[in-house]
Symmetry: C2
């Protein structure tokens, strides 16, 4: 996984529930190498994080090395809990939390997540993407949408997170399409643009009927030969449409940036365009790295 | 499971996806014995139904015996497909479908389900419960709600099913509470009436915000110590509330009968009462048996 000739100036780590991704960085901020691991937070006890990290990036260490990590690694079930900052707050953390290590040359700083008390909400990892986006777009005000398993809508003003809201849209799509009776109607892959648009339109025009639409996919598959591709795309449209209606206080009249995996971001941008809302697509991995870099620079002053 | 002294006049069978339940009936319609099996349609190939049935009720057979069966046993993946009747239609089927058997004394008649083309919908098993309810309440007009994994709302007029709609509420509750991140927030059991009422009220007053409410359960658990019992009850309230809003064209201004498992039926009756809609609770098993009996009587003439 790693190149033994690489000696990192510092190491950037994005450690989520399912995966870990690390970059060997030069002191000046160039990416020297990249490593990935499927040892996500979800499967690690607190004392298993250091061995998992060293297995992935140990070869990069030559002398005292700083690691900056974001994501679920800082949750209560992670390596060490990095207590949430509270909105309103900057996304560039004032204080990082040092994780316990045994390797003599390793210092691991964990970036805290952000919480909101009312309505209750939390994020871990997205704050670093936002901070990276703001580092590249100084003074930007507006709303950032971060689509994914748990999509976030985040209101940014004067370099601070003012408020945010999480939607379980990605996880609902995954669970409903794979774990319910709809699995018989929905293809594992495949797509149909018109069916996506139809689902979107149904939820946008009559959001209160979402609960009634779901079983129709199964019935339309049984009785009317609705294809697995069309059912898949229509479910996605129904769920993203329902999210858009509920997130309207966020996107209405705002400039929007969408940070996420490319295919999914495109769906959100199409959905927003259907409401005449323009949105800018932003590369997620580059933004995460920019956020980790901003945290490193601040730490090193 | 069975009593070898029982000789059935005929046998009533309710065969669903997960379970099978059978009753030995006297010619005059008295229940002589009951048997259950966990060999549901979901795990049986077509040629495995007869052995599964005989394993449960073979001892009841003394001479030529008629079996009347309803439920998923008649689906395309079942013992034999009993093609759907189309609405508008009576729930007492005009034609039963005979399943292939090898036992010389066994004749198995399967009750067809009901379909609706627009909006597409299907039922299998509920038609028999409705037919049993109507056999006990001749001339009844109104709306029948059958809560369960896939809750049905059914408009009955002049002894016919006029239209119906299925909601995946039970399956969504089960899947969301067990398979998503909310599993960390939701107790496996337990209840909180006030939290149910709060979830119900949230969905009834702002149904378009359902997508936004779900992750709040997780965040309220993390940040505000929302109990697992309260989160469980609130999720139930949110989903039943969303169903009620979408099913309003069914229940508004109608008399309502609720046929289902007792605890779940009580929740629907409470939810309807919150909208000032009175509803009558009906015992599900007795209704199924009454429907199977009505089909037997019609067959025998």
């Amino acid at each position: 996984m790693t190149d033994t000739n690489i000696k990192a100036g510092w190491i950037a780590v994005d450690w989520g529930t399912s995966n870990m991704r690390a970059w060997a960085m030069s002191a000046s901020g160039t990416v020297l190498a990249e490593a990935r691991s499927d040892q996500g937070m979800g499967q690690l006890s607190p004392d298993a994080f250091e061995p998992a990290l060293l297995a992935a990036i140990g070869d990069w260490i030559a002398g005292p090395t700083t690691v900056i990590a974001c994501g679920m690694v800082g949750s209560r079930q992670g390596w060490i809990e990095a207590p949430y900052a509270s909105v309103p707050c900057t996304t560039l953390p004032e204080r990082l939390v040092i994780a316990p290590t045994t390797h003599p040359d390793l210092t691991v700083h964990v970036i805290p997540g952000i919480k909101q008390t009312q309505p209750a909400d939390v994020m871990r990892g997205e704050e670093t993407q936002i901070s990276g986006f703001l580092a590249r777009n100084p003074g930007w005000d507006g709303v950032i949408c971060l689509p994914g398993t748990h999509t976030k809508w985040v209101h940014i003003s004067a370099d601070e997170v003012v408020s945010f809201q999480t939607f379980m849209t990605g996880e609902l799509f995954d669970t409903i399409s794979k774990q319910t009776v709809l699995r018989h109607a929905i293809a594992a892959d495949g797509w149909d643009d018109a069916a996506f648009a139809e689902g979107l339109d149904q939820s946008l025009s009559r959001p209160e009927r979402l609960a009634a639409r779901l079983f129709s996919l199964r019935a339309n598959s049984l009785l009317n030969g609705l294809s697995g591709d069309a059912a898949r795309a229509q479910l996605s449209g129904l769920l993203i449409g329902a999210e858009l209606v509920a997130a309207k206080p966020y996107w209405l009249g705002q400039q929007i940036a969408v940070i996420g995996e490319s295919r999914l971001s495109t769906l959100y941008i199409k959905a927003l365009a259907s409401q005449a809302v323009p949105a800018t697509q932003v590369n997620a991995a580059a933004t995460t790295l920019a956020g980790l870099t901003a945290a490193y620079k601040r730490l090193k002053g």
